[in-house]
């Protein structure tokens, strides 16, 4: 950690106790113990402003969007559409019309697999993913492979848990890859992938690039143009927003070339029994009544993180991660999985003599919530030669004291099973 990061972490602008006060759930107790929530990578907790925004909408201005010629519908449509602007700004997307609301990241990737995969990719072309993908960025491509004659290629990772760029480039060499689909940040290893470099390699090989930003968008400022992505997806509930809303960003020319994924109301220009025509992007991809309240909640979540600022968030979490890596390394019998240079606050570990589920149960009884298992990344687990890990993941509300308590509790776990 360099000096400027240290300073930023301690700057009065970022007061973790003040942030914690914004999250009502953090005062809860579990098993009579203070909640220590270290499972934000699975789903983050919600600040009061997000809860209030959704409640406020339901209590004061709620109707269906894009339909009613009445005051309530107009207000709701405005609130809903204003979030499209907020998301576009969050990602530095060139246009608000490139923001498609989905149910979550999984739905966003499935949208691309169905629409771009069947409508634009040709049988015989390949999709290239990596060994460290979440199932959400594996299974949709397997389904496309089996239904559409697409080849699925997998780029290997190094033992340190980083993408093997040389092997990755080799997978692109024959020019058959039409789409590269990679995570921005591993949900198991915490590794950030070098997206700019990956984008350059992909584009050199005339392939497009989809980035799964589910983990990364929470921790770092994302600029889809600077990254060189063609598609970027993320989900609301990891970004301190509600469940049920996700985002697909894609370059306009791609969205326009892609056929609709689902048909129904709100995605059409006109309908007759003989033929229908599609609405403009992004509405072409938003069939049916959308997740209105959840989108409004996501808007409040984006406002919330913007008010803190991604500079301060990244500095706080970098300090936390350094602290956690140091403290956990000192726990006897504990092995941290992955040693990537560029990594964030998602730390998987195994313990000698204690299975991850047993570790998680003991931590839980002390109020500490971690995830244990395969983390929806079974192929990565196999690659690492592991069956399961425990995973501690951090958010803006995580404190150094919580990490100390985790390390102290883990010290006792080893003794318990000996």
């Amino acid at each position: 950690m360099n000096a400027s990061v240290k300073l930023a972490a301690r700057s009065p602008a970022f007061d973790v106790e003040r942030i914690r006060a914004d999250f009502p759930i953090l005062t809860q107790q579990v098993h009579g113990k203070k909640l220590v929530f270290l499972d934000s990578a699975a789903s983050a907790q919600k600040p009061r402003t997000v809860i209030a925004a959704m409640t406020h909408a339901m209590e004061t201005q709620y109707a269906n969007v894009h339909r009613g010629l009445h005051w309530m519908s107009e207000r709701t449509s405005d609130a809903y559409e204003s979030v499209r602007d907020k998301v576009a700004a969050l990602l530095n997307a060139p246009s608000r019309d490139e923001i498609v609301f989905t149910g979550n990241s999984t739905q966003a990737i499935n949208l691309v697999a169905h629409s771009f995969g069947r409508g634009v990719l040709k049988p015989g072309q390949a999709v290239l993913i990596t060994e460290m993908e979440h199932h959400a960025n594996i299974v949709p491509w397997q389904m496309l492979r089996d239904s559409h004659g697409i080849e699925l290629r997998v780029a290997p990772i190094t033992d340190a848990g980083e993408l093997d760029l040389e092997a990755f480039a080799a997978k692109l060499a024959d020019g058959k890859v039409g789409l590269v689909a990679v995570t921005h940040m591993s949900n198991v290893l915490g590794t950030y992938l070098p997206i700019e470099r990956i984008a350059a390699l992909a584009h050199e090989a005339r392939a497009l690039l989809l980035v799964d930003g589910s983990q990364a968008v929470v921790h770092r400022a994302v600029d889809v143009q600077a990254l060189g992505a063609d598609f970027y997806v993320f989900t609301g509930h990891k970004l301190y927003g509600p469940t049920g809303v996700g985002v697909l960003w894609a370059r306009r020319v791609l969205l326009e070339a892609m056929p609709p994924f689902m048909g129904g109301g709100d995605m059409i220009a006109s309908v007759s029994f003989e033929k229908s025509s599609w609405a403009q992007v992004p509405h072409k991809f938003e069939a049916g009544t959308p997740a209105i309240l959840e989108v409004i909640g996501l808007g409040a979540a984006i406002d919330y993180v913007n008010a803190i600022g991604f500079g301060a968030i990244a500095a706080h979490e970098a300090a936390l991660t350094d602290h956690a890596l140091a403290r956990l390394s000192d726990v006897a019998g504990l092995h941290i999985v992955g040693r990537a240079q560029d990594r964030g606050g998602v730390i998987s570990f195994t313990m000698d003599g204690a299975h991850a589920h047993d570790v998680a149960t003991l931590l839980d009884r002390n109020g500490i919530a971690v995830r244990a298992g395969q983390h929806c990344a079974e192929p990565l687990m196999r690659r690492l030669g592991l069956t399961s890990t425990a995973r501690a993941s951090f958010g803006i509300y995580t404190t150094h004291a919580e990490i100390d308590f985790l390390a102290e509790t883990l010290d006792r776990v080893t003794a318990f099973f000996q």
Binding site: H357, A372, T387
Partner: protein, 151 residues
Amino acid sequence: MSFDDVRDLYQEVILDRGRNPRHMHRLEPFDASAKGDNPMCGDQIELRLVFAEDGRVADAAFEARGCAISLASADLMAEVVRGHDGTELRALALSFGELAKTGVLDSNDTELEKLRPLSGVCEYPSRVKCATLPWTALIAALDSRSREAFK
């Protein structure tokens, strides 16, 4: 900070069986086998059974990777299945499922009594599957033996 309140789950017999299972080895030859896996956590078990001429289990052993709960459960199961036929074992599996879910031992069955150390799992809903995984494999092994018999 204390682990005292997990002692109902991790009783000494569970910790001991989890650390040093008595019946975790490859049984060869065998009459029936089945695999069980829990995709949530990656735990896997392969159970093998040997039957006596009267159709009762003569020997049982397993190979597994898993948590203390699933290993201890498999180890205790491998012991209690001996001397029982398929019908008895299916009934025992049902009773054990109830024990794991509710903690209530609703019979004077001496075999079930041997499994009582696992009753603490009922307080940990996410761990019930760890305890029942070996029994799922047992039922699958009995099913495969039934299918063989009809061939």
